[in-house]
């Protein structure tokens, strides 16, 4: 594949560009492939969005090599007045805080999808794992990931809110 040089890009812009690209792939795949693939891109997009913010726009260093950063980013974001305004909450700081807090449990689930968090005995969207209670090795492509896409309204709503939040953050020039 041809490498497309887009000019003098720093680490911050590069992480953000890749997060937006991961997000675009997620949107193209959604509903058309096994759930593991869309979750994989969701985990990658959120991690790279957080890493974009972990690198100074004028900094010379890449982000630290961690996958566990999405929740911490949201904890910091909820106290940012300009993000609050851009996302339509204006001066309603407590409402924005509650909105972010309500999503942290699912953000944590997304964060733990990274293979180094899941290990060999928890579901992750990339590699097979051992389901210890069932003594079965499972492949991500054959797993339903009900903890993210069940039929209950509460979970559907939270995942939709995370989808909307990440999409909006990626549009902002954060």
């Amino acid at each position: 594949m041809e490498y497309r040089w887009k000019g003098n890009m720093g680490w911050h812009e590069a992480y953000l560009a890749q997060a937006r690209s991961d997000w675009a792939v997620l949107k193209r795949l959604s509903g058309k492939v096994e759930t593991c693939h869309t979750l994989h891109y969701l985990q990658m997009a959120t991690e790279k969005l957080a890493k974009a913010l972990l690198t100074s726009p004028c900094g010379a260093d890449p982000a630290p090599p961690t996958h566990v950063i999405f929740v911490r980013m949201l904890q910091v974001l909820k106290a940012r007045p300009e993000i609050r305004v851009r996302l339509g909450y204006g001066d309603a700081a407590q409402a924005f805080r509650k909105y972010i807090d309500s999503l942290l449990d699912y953000a944590g689930r997304i964060e733990r999808l990274a293979p180094d968090q899941a290990g060999f005995d928890h579901p992750n969207p990339e590699y097979p794992w051992l389901d210890k209670p069932k003594r079965q090795v499972l492949a991500p492509c054959e797993y339903s990931f009900d903890q993210f896409y069940p039929r209950d309204k509460k979970t559907i709503t939270k995942m939709a809110k995370i989808d909307m939040l990440v999409g909006e953050l990626l549009k902002l020039s954060v």
């Binding site: 726009p57 630290p64 910091v76 106290a79 805080r97």
Partner: protein, 104 residues
Amino acid sequence: MAVGQKNPEVERQAKYLAADNRQVEPDITKVYWFPDDNEVRLLEITEIVPLTSDGEVHPFYFRASPIDDLPLPTAVAMIRAEEFGKLKLPDQWGAWDDGIPLEG
């Protein structure tokens, strides 16, 4: 103004953000400001974040947003109280003793 600080706008924005953040998130128990002339650097103490895994403070960076009364870029990190003074600070932030506690 902090000793050696030349740009009063940095201190104003630091105090504004510290007060705003503590109001939004009551679990932030203390805010320390590390003075710099070009960037607002805040370290917030809270139990809502997990312990840092690699022994370093990793701030999140935000661009200036003059329209939101934030004319300077900001770097803000959250750590647990027991990590204060023990983690490695970002380059250019100085020493732990340089942190000035800001009242909410």
